[in-house]
C-alpha cells in the first residue's frame, strides 16, 4: 500500500462521494418523512395494493412488503438506495484503472517505482474508504429518519442494522465485478454506460425474476442476494445467497490482481 496513491485517489473521488452522499440523504430523509402520512391510511393503501397486478408488485418487491410497518416502508426506499449504491460502486470499479488508461495517465503512474500490486491495493483501499464514507452517510440518515418519522410504531432494530450492513457486501460486489470486467476488455472509453448497465441490469434481473417465476437467473444478482423484503421477513440473510455473493466478489478480486499484473498498458493509438 502506497500512501501517496491512496491520498491521490481519495482526492480525485471526494467530489463524487459528496454528490452521491447528498443525493442519498435527500432520497432517504424525504422519502421516509412521508411514512407517518402513509401509515395512517395503511389499510386503504393495502386495499389499493391488493388491486395491483401481482407482476407489478413483484417488480418493485412489494408482494411481501407491509407498507404500514417501519421496516416494510423502509424496504421500498432501500431498493432505490441499493440502486444508487450499485451505480456508484460500479462507477468506481469500472473506472479504478481504466480511467487512467483512457486518459493516458497510466504511463505516469506505472513508471513510478511502485509495483502493480501496490498500485491496485492502494487504489482499492482508497475506493473502499470512499464507499465507507457513503455508507456512514446512509446509515446516519437512515437512523435519523427512522427516529424522527417512526410514527410511534415499533420496529426491530437488529433487522434494520442487518439491512444497513448488507450494503457493504452489496457495494463490494459491484466494485469488484466492475473492476474485473474493465480488466477483461482492452479499453473502456467511458465508465458510465458500463456502470449504469451493470446496476440496472442487475436490478432488472432481480425485478423480473419475480414476474417470470421460476427462472434461476436471479441467483447472480446482488439485488436478490440482499433482497430487503426477504431480509425483513426472515430477520436474517439468506446464507447460501450471501456466500454466493462473497464468492463472486472474491473471485473477481483475485482475477483482477492476476489480470492487472499481466496487463499491457498501450500507448496512444
Amino acid at each position: 500500500m502506497n500512501a501517496n496513491i491512496y491520498r491521490h485517489e481519495l482526492h480525485i473521488r471526494w467530489k463524487s462521494v459528496f454528490t452521491w452522499s447528498v443525493a442519498l440523504v435527500f432520497l432517504i430523509v424525504f422519502f421516509f418523512s412521508v411514512f407517518p402520512a402513509f401509515a395512517k391510511d395503511a389499510d386503504l393503501l393495502n386495499q389499493m395494493m391488493a388491486k395491483f397486478p401481482p407482476e407489478m408488485k413483484a417488480a418493485f418487491g412489494l408482494d411481501n412488503m407491509d407498507m404500514a410497518t417501519v421496516l416494510g416502508f423502509y424496504s421500498l426506499i432501500f431498493l432505490f438506495v441499493q440502486l444508487c449504491l450499485a451505480i456508484q460502486a460500479g462507477n468506481y470499479g469500472f473506472g479504478l484503472v481504466s480511467v487512467e488508461e483512457a486518459e493516458l495517465t497510466a504511463d505516469f503512474l506505472l513508471t513510478r517505482p511502485v509495483s502493480r500490486w501496490e498500485i491496485l491495493t492502494s487504489k482499492l483501499l482508497a475506493v473502499l474508504t470512499s464507499l465507507l464514507v457513503t455508507d456512514l452517510v446512509v446509515w446516519g440518515s437512515t437512523f435519523i429518519s427512522v427516529l424522527l418519522f417512526n410514527d410511534g410504531r415499533a420496529y426491530e432494530t437488529t433487522t434494520l442494522i442487518l439491512l444497513l450492513i448488507s450494503i457493504l457486501p452489496f457495494q463490494l460486489f459491484f466494485l469488484c465485478v466492475g473492476l474485473v470486467v474493465s480488466l477483461l476488455v482492452r479499453r473502456i472509453r467511458s465508465v458510465t454506460p458500463y456502470s449504469l448497465g451493470l446496476g440496472f441490469g442487475a436490478y432488472v434481473l432481480s425485478a423480473f425474476s419475480g414476474v417470470f417465476g421460476e427462472a434461476k437467473l436471479e441467483l447472480i444478482t446482488p439485488f436478490k442476494h440482499f433482497d430487503a423484503a426477504a431480509i425483513v421477513q426472515n430477520q436474517a440473510f439468506d446464507t447460501p445467497l450471501l456466500l454466493l455473493n462473497v464468492a463472486v466478489t472474491l473471485i473477481s478480486v483475485v482475477a483482477s490482481y492476476w489480470l492487472y499484473k499481466r496487463r499491457d498498458i498501450h500507448a496512444v493509438s
Binding site: 502506497n2 501517496n4 491521490h8 480525485i12 486518459e103 493516458l104 495517465t105 497510466a106 504511463d107 505516469f108 506505472l110 513508471t111 513510478r112 517505482p113 511502485v114 509495483s115 501496490e118 499481466r262 499491457d264 498498458i265 498501450h266 500507448a267 496512444v268
Partner: protein
C-alpha cells in the same frame, strides 16, 4: 558495466508485430540513439524496458536486473519522458511534480525548482491550461527531478521551440557529464547526430544496424560529387557506388570501399570540381530504408 542489456526481445500485439528479436547493450555513461520511422518499434522497446508492456519472448535487464521481475526497484533510478505527455488534467503543475517526487525517497524540492526555472515552467498553472509544448516541459522536469541514473527520452523535442530544444540538449549533455546514461529515441536524425555516441537503427521491428556514430559516418559511406567531361563512360560501373545520378556533367553518388578505385578512374581526366564529404546521418539513414 552495461546499463541496458536487451536479449532477443520480441513483442507481438496479438498478431501484429511490435518488435522482433531486438538485441543491444548500452554501457554506462553513453548517450545511445535509437532511430527509426514511426511505427518501427521504438516506443514498444521503451515500454518493454519500463515494463508497461510484457515481452512475448526474450528478456531485458537494466542495472543488471530483469525488467519483468525487478520493475519497481529499477524504476527508482529511471527517468522517462514519453513522446506524448498526459497528466492529471485537474492538477496544478506544482502538485503534479510534488506527487511525482513523493514516490522517491529523496528530497527533490530544490532540483524541481531549479529545473522549472531553467525550462521556464510556470508552476501554478493548471495542467489542462497548458499548451502542448508546456506540457512537454512538465514532462522534462518530471523525468529529471529525482536525479535518475538512466533517462529514457522518447522523441523528446516534439513541441519544443528551437530555443527550448537547445536548452534541453544542453541539459541532457550536462546530465550525461554527471554520469547519467541516456537512451534517446527519435526519428529526427540531426538531433541524434548532435547528441549521441552510438546509434541503433530499427526498421519494421528489427534492428538493422548498431554502430558508433563516427564509424557510421566515416567508414561506411562517402558522398562524392565530380564535375568533369566524359563522365558517362568512366563511371558506368564502379564497385561500391550507389545512388549514382548524372546531371549537367556532374556525377553524384555514395561510395563505400577503397577510395582509390574512384581516384584511379579520374586519372587523365580533366576534372573541374571534386568534393568528397561525409554523408549526413539523414542520407545514411535513407540508404537503410530503401
Amino acid at each position: 558495466m552495461s546499463i541496458i542489456e536487451v536479449n532477443q526481445l520480441t513483442k507481438y500485439y496479438g498478431k501484429s508485430r511490435g518488435i522482433v528479436d531486438v538485441s543491444f547493450t548500452e554501457e554506462e555513461g553513453e548517450i545511445f540513439g535509437f532511430i527509426g520511422p514511426n511505427g518501427a518499434g521504438k516506443s514498444t522497446t521503451i515500454r518493454l524496458l519500463l515494463s508497461l508492456i510484457h515481452p512475448t519472448s526474450g528478456s531485458a535487464k537494466i542495472f543488471g536486473k530483469d525488467v519483468t521481475t525487478h520493475g519497481p526497484e529499477i524504476r527508482r533510478d529511471i527517468g522517462y519522458l514519453p513522446s506524448e505527455v498526459f497528466y492529471y488534467e485537474g492538477m496544478r503543475v506544482i502538485d503534479l511534480l510534488k506527487y511525482s517526487a513523493s514516490f522517491f525517497e529523496k528530497d527533490c524540492t530544490q532540483r524541481m525548482h531549479d529545473l522549472s526555472e531553467l525550462m521556464e515552467l510556470e508552476l501554478n498553472r493548471r495542467i489542462s491550461d497548458l499548451s502542448y509544448g508546456n506540457k512537454k516541459k512538465v514532462g522534462i522536469v518530471q523525468g529529471l527531478l529525482h536525479s535518475p541514473k538512466l533517462l529514457f527520452l522518447d522523441e523528446p523535442t516534439s513541441g519544443l521551440d528551437p530555443l527550448m530544444q537547445r536548452k534541453f540538449f544542453d541539459l541532457i549533455r550536462e546530465e550525461n557529464r554527471r554520469g547519467v546514461t541516456v537512451f534517446f529515441s527519435s526519428h529526427i536524425l540531426s538531433e541524434v547526430q548532435r547528441l549521441c555516441t552510438r546509434v541503433a537503427i530499427i526498421r519494421e521491428g528489427r534492428i538493422v544496424e548498431i554502430s558508433n556514430i563516427r564509424t557510421l559516418q566515416q567508414n561506411n559511406y562517402k558522398k562524392i560529387s565530380i564535375t568533369a567531361e566524359g563522365l558517362g563512360e568512366l563511371f558506368q560501373q564502379i564497385p561500391g557506388a550507389s545512388n549514382m545520378q548524372f546531371e549537367n556533367g556532374t556525377v553524384n553518388f555514395f561510395f563505400k570501399g577503397d577510395i582509390n578505385t574512384v581516384l584511379q578512374r579520374l586519372n587523365g581526366v580533366r576534372v573541374s570540381d571534386v568534393t568528397i564529404e561525409e554523408p549526413t546521418l539523414e542520407e545514411i539513414f535513407m540508404h537503410y530504408y530503401e
